[in-house]
Symmetry: C2
Subunit: 375 residues, 2 copies
DNA sequence: TTGTATGCGTTATCAT
DNA sequence: ATGATAACGCATACAA
């Protein structure tokens, strides 16, 4: 009983209840695939096949259908398509909420740009979720998959201690970690360990023997890896792991200031300091200034991240540039490959970092030195 | 012919074609509303009503149904719900793509945070779209509504010359402009005009008579309004609109440098400069330094935006703080109100700006002065 | 190659 | 108060 094709102007009409036309107010009267079928004289399926570029459709048919589509300005409904295809073309990007000023952090902004560019180039859309207490309480990390039908998830800069990450990864859904590292899952990270080691070689080459370290949170991958890189650098340069040369902060300027205070108050204070990120480097330099220690003359300071401030601060910061844009792009590509069913899985990728030499380490002209890659 | 309720374990079974069970691999076997109906012994409709908190449902039924929902961890499918409800609970946030480093700009990052917080508090999700050439070519601005069924759109910092904005607004879809201004539509902006005037009063109070202005792009609302505020400020302070005191840039540091060069090369150069944004203020100060003009002693400089750099730059920048977080929140609220059918429409809202006095204008301690509100 | 029938998971209408 | 069923708009085995 064909009840589809030749009903001139109405939607599929039920056998009996012709009395109450179910059509709701067609406010913006957008067309459906039915309209195209009717107008073009083909069936819905044919239109659908044309829409999806199926090669089985005869060219002449294809053209006729497309002509109608163009003419009436038909656009397929994503929701309906997702429902039928069971694939939403939507990716969630989950970012930690650090204060309420998340997006201003270079680290995240750069990765977001890379992610966004790569996703939209492939026709994917992204929804952004910030990890708040509510996010966790509502179990949003899994609801995004189940309720919202997202195809995949990018987890940016998560902590080793974030439990929800484990839940996502073990749930069987597709996810990639951006700049954090866990065994058994796909991760794309900047080569912080190798980069940190290159910082140490740089300072060592300048003649420094006592190089201090202001660490960050070792629950973060960057914190941990830069810490390891510091130690590896000492080894490579043949420097002893002297005591009293390491203090930890929490990545904030304030914590960098306080760590520096401890470091610089010692009888045998370091002549150079590698701070785990730029903000702590800034704190360190401010502390040195307050203590009457000149940077870079009496103390060389190197940061990491290469935030915008780094090149405007006085002295301009020598720092380890982390190519977060590239990391974002690559991570997204890994995710999309998996969704497309190509490539390996899981996969680990490392993007090289670069040492940007400015003034705070005693050089006066800017230059770049490639960081070491871990192969 | 009831074919729904008492089919123990299978989906709706067609009269004949029982041979080929259409069910595809239920990979992650998530439950549907049918499962809940079956398990609880009620109909799909009842479950749906329970799910949506309909008051007509008897409390005992409500409890029984919820018990099952909790037990099996059922979560409704957004796509199906959106399709049926014709409302997606998704909002698009459209931001201009300035270089590839969009998110690093304070202006946008702050507004995004406000938008994100407000949306997620109301159960809305946001998808972020950057305006690129492709965005425009594909007609994405309207496709988002038609294809993706977004409920509303927030347009952040658009230019007066952006044509797609007009198309969105005239299309009948719901949209709010964030920090830009057009007649006949809903806008939420920072009070840049009043704020700029307060900058002028500040400089005038410091004794400056010749106050220069480095304008931005007057195709932007902030550019235009700060320009107007500059002139209004001159008037309020009884200063003449002298010639040769105004130059324009494009908001970049470089353009600020060049504008300053012209301004400061004149025989009768200004003793103070109000730059339309912080980056141009930085360029101006760098230029002054290169010309041997001391800031703030020989030249007072005030910027606008209060980007993170402002308090780290030397000298620390006196600047007009623009509460973009609040602007983002408010704009989102306006949008959601409209979607909920409450409040007026269209609506114009102005958020006060604040003058943050630091070192570049000659003061040594930080302080805040409320900007003037336009009523 | 094209058409038919049905499914995707939910909401909304109407009848009971 | 609850149940049955038709939308919602598209995709897709399978038949023709």
């Amino acid at each position: 009983m064909p009840r589809d094709s030749f009903e001139p102007s109405s939607r599929r009409t039920p056998a009996v209840a012709r009395l109450s036309p179910r059509r709701r107010v067609p406010e913006a009267t957008s067309h459906t695939i039915r309209d195209i079928a009717r107008l073009s004289g083909f069936s819905r399926s044919t239109v659908s096949l044309v829409l999806n570029g199926d090669p089985r459709i005869k060219p002449s048919t294809r053209q006729k259908v497309w002509a109608v589509i163009q003419k009436v300005g038909y656009e397929p409904n994503c929701m309906a398509r997702s429902l039928a295809r069971r694939r939403s073309m939507i990716t969630a990007v989950v970012v930690p909420k650090i204060s309420s000023h998340l997006f201003s952090d270079y680290y995240f902004s750069e990765s977001m740009s890379g992610i966004s560019d790569t996703l939209s180039a492939k026709g994917y859309r992204m929804i952004i979720e910030m990890v708040t207490d509510n996010f966790l309480k509502d179990g949003m990390h899994l609801r995004l998959f189940r309720e919202c039908q997202i195809d995949g998830m990018l987890l940016v800069g998560t902590l080793d201690t974030d439990e929800y990450v484990g839940e996502v990864l073990s749930s069987g859904y597709t996810a990639v970690l951006v700049n954090s590292w866990r065994p058994g899952c796909s991760c794309v990270v900047a080569d912080n360990m190798g980069g940190a080691a290159s910082v140490m070689r740089h300072l060592s080459a300048l003649g420094h023997k006592r190089i201090g370290f202001i660490g960050g949170l070792n629950s973060t991958t960057v914190g941990l890896q830069r810490d390891e890189g510091y130690r590896r650098g000492l080894l490579e340069c043949g420097l002893p792991e002297a005591t009293g040369l390491v203090e930890y902060g929490d990545f904030s300027e304030q914590s960098g200031y306080e760590a520096a205070k401890k470091l610089l108050s010692k009888k045998n204070r370091p002549t150079a300091v590698f701070a785990c990120n730029d903000m702590m480097a800034v704190g360190c330099i401010n502390c040195a200034r307050d203590m009457g220690i000149a940077v870079p003359d009496d103390l060389a300071v190197v940061g990491a991240d290469d935030i915008a401030l780094a090149s405007y601060f006085q002295p301009r910061l020598t720092t380890l540039h982390q190519p977060m844009y590239e990391v974002g792009c690559l991570a997204t590509q890994v995710l999309l490959d998996k969704l497309a069913g190509v490539g390996e899985w899981p996969v680990k990728k490392v993007v090289l970092t670069q040492l940007v030499i400015r003034d705070s380490s005693g050089f006066s002209r800017e230059g770049r030195v490639s960081g070491a890659a871990r192969k």
